[in-house]
């Protein structure tokens, strides 16, 4: 393999990893606070992509505004989903809420089939983004370079939000102890809504960039990426945001480089994530950056 080819794979892997990271954050933030695996998260990602699709094709709104509005709307959708499907069951056994999450996932997929139609649609890529760059023999899609840049920018903002703002502190407090957080006067439901909003917003941003990179939309398009991003979150240590990002990049880069170096294994591309998951869980059950639960009592 030539260096140019390798660089191409590296760029592709990084951009796929960025997308995984963006989606994995939603899983890990929700898990960190509610101890819930939000199985509908992949379908939220799908909804975000379709919202952008319809926004571009059927409204006069310019595409760059659609790319901001669609994630905002998807954020609201995530927030409403929590209110309808999860909040009424808070305090129930975890398995009950998990089943509700699976139900919400099916509901969104079937809503998609019913309303958007089951046949694949082509994502309308804005002309300016549909270009390929060639730098000293390495040719890459413009979007593959934009994806990591936007991802990193969003991660920096998210990090600042969680580390430095009062709401971010409240999130971290909530992840530790609901009851004591309420004794601080923290509006628990409000913070949970914000978490769902952020997770769904990021998933939709990922979805739009996914649509530009892999421009085929289907109501079930969220299933496999959703599952892989869940794995990414577990690999990184679920509940840990940095871990989710790390897991996303490992998975994305690993997948692309695996195909690049061992083209015979292309058919096993999806299996890679699961094998990696099994190996990591065997070696480090808490995930790479999983929280140690030792503290002074």
């Amino acid at each position: 393999m030539s260096l140019a080819e390798f660089m191409q794979h590296l760029v592709n892997g990084t951009s796929l990893g960025s997308l995984y990271a963006l989606i994995a954050i939603g899983y890990t933030m929700v898990y960190g606070i509610l101890r819930l695996i939000n199985f509908a998260h992949g379908d939220i990602f799908m909804m975000g992509t379709y919202l952008a699709y319809y926004g571009i094709l059927f409204t006069p709104i310019p595409w760059y505004l659609v790319f901001i509005l669609a994630p905002l709307l998807t954020g609201l959708l995530g927030l409403v989903l929590e209110k309808l499907a999860y909040k009424p069951m808070r305090g129930s056994p975890r398995i009950t809420i998990l089943i509700s999450a699976i139900g919400a996932s099916f509901l969104l997929q079937n809503f998609g089939i019913l309303v958007f139609g089951g046949r694949p649609k082509a994502f309308p890529i804005p002309g300016i983004l549909d270009t390929t760059l060639t730098v000293s023999g390495v040719s890459v899609d413009l979007i593959s370079i934009i994806i990591p840049i936007i991802t990193i920018a969003l991660l920096v903002i998210l990090n600042f939000f969680i580390k430095k703002t009062k709401t971010g502190m409240a999130m971290r407090a909530l992840a530790k102890d609901f009851e004591t957080a309420s004794l601080m006067g923290i509006n628990i439901n409000g913070i949970i809504s914000i978490v769902f909003f952020i997770g769904s917003f990021l998933a939709a941003v990922g979805g739009i960039m996914w649509g530009i990179k892999y421009p085929q939309l289907m109501p079930t398009m969220g299933v496999v990426p959703g599952l892989k991003c869940f794995i990414a979150a577990v690999i990184g240590g679920i509940g840990n945001i940095t871990g989710a990002v790390l897991g996303g990049f490992i998975l994305g880069l690993g997948e692309i480089l695996l195909i690049a170096f061992l083209p015979n294994l292309t058919g096993y591309r999806d299996a890679f994530a699961f094998v990696l998951l099994i190996v990591i869980l065997l070696v480090r059950p808490t995930g790479l950056l999983g929280e140690k639960t030792s503290e002074k009592v």
Partner: protein, 237 residues
Amino acid sequence: MLLVENLHVNYGGISALRGIDLTIKDNQIVTLIGANGAGKSSTLRAIMNLVKKAEGTVKYNDEDLTNLATMDIVKKGIALSPEGRKVFSNLSVEENLILGAYTVKDSQLVKEGIYKVYELFPRLKERSWQQAGTLSGGEQQMLAVGRALMISPKILMLDEPSLGLAPLLVNDIFDIITELHRQGNTILLVEQNAKKALEIADYGYVLETGTLVLEGGGKELLQDQRVQEAYLGEAAK
């Protein structure tokens, strides 16, 4: 003045509190003593609506707090430092204090609050950037009390602040409670250390299996034979 009337709490079918009446007058230390499982913590938790009241009312001056959400009770100026300290171990000392003032909108007031807490507990200032989970038990207790002070509470409720602390630290904690009282705070103190609690209290209540069995001035209760036998470990002469 905080007024608790006819408070009942049930856990499943078991009644933990069966009609408690408390009056906490302004600028007083009122203590609630009793054995393990008597319902002391349940009383505080029910006032904060962390557990459901089966019956009864809670009023602060003329405001009815009975059915308010916990966060809204906090906004009325009632703070609880919970049993077992419950500091946010994954946050720094300073972040814990900032969260204590979550309902305080004025950032200047928050800064002053932190300053005051550091004045009261210089140890916390030294460790302001340390994760709260790495503090010693006594320091965590200081942080829990400091955190509750951040809203300049009208009523400060302390649940077992001396629990699990070394005797010297217990004295420190009681010194601080006395100092807070001297500064004009109103305090509802729940303690297993009945002797120390009654020594500093203006008024005390004795709780037994969910019912108040005795009440009176702190010094008065300290002299009471039943209290001495049951809680102060002094055999009847």
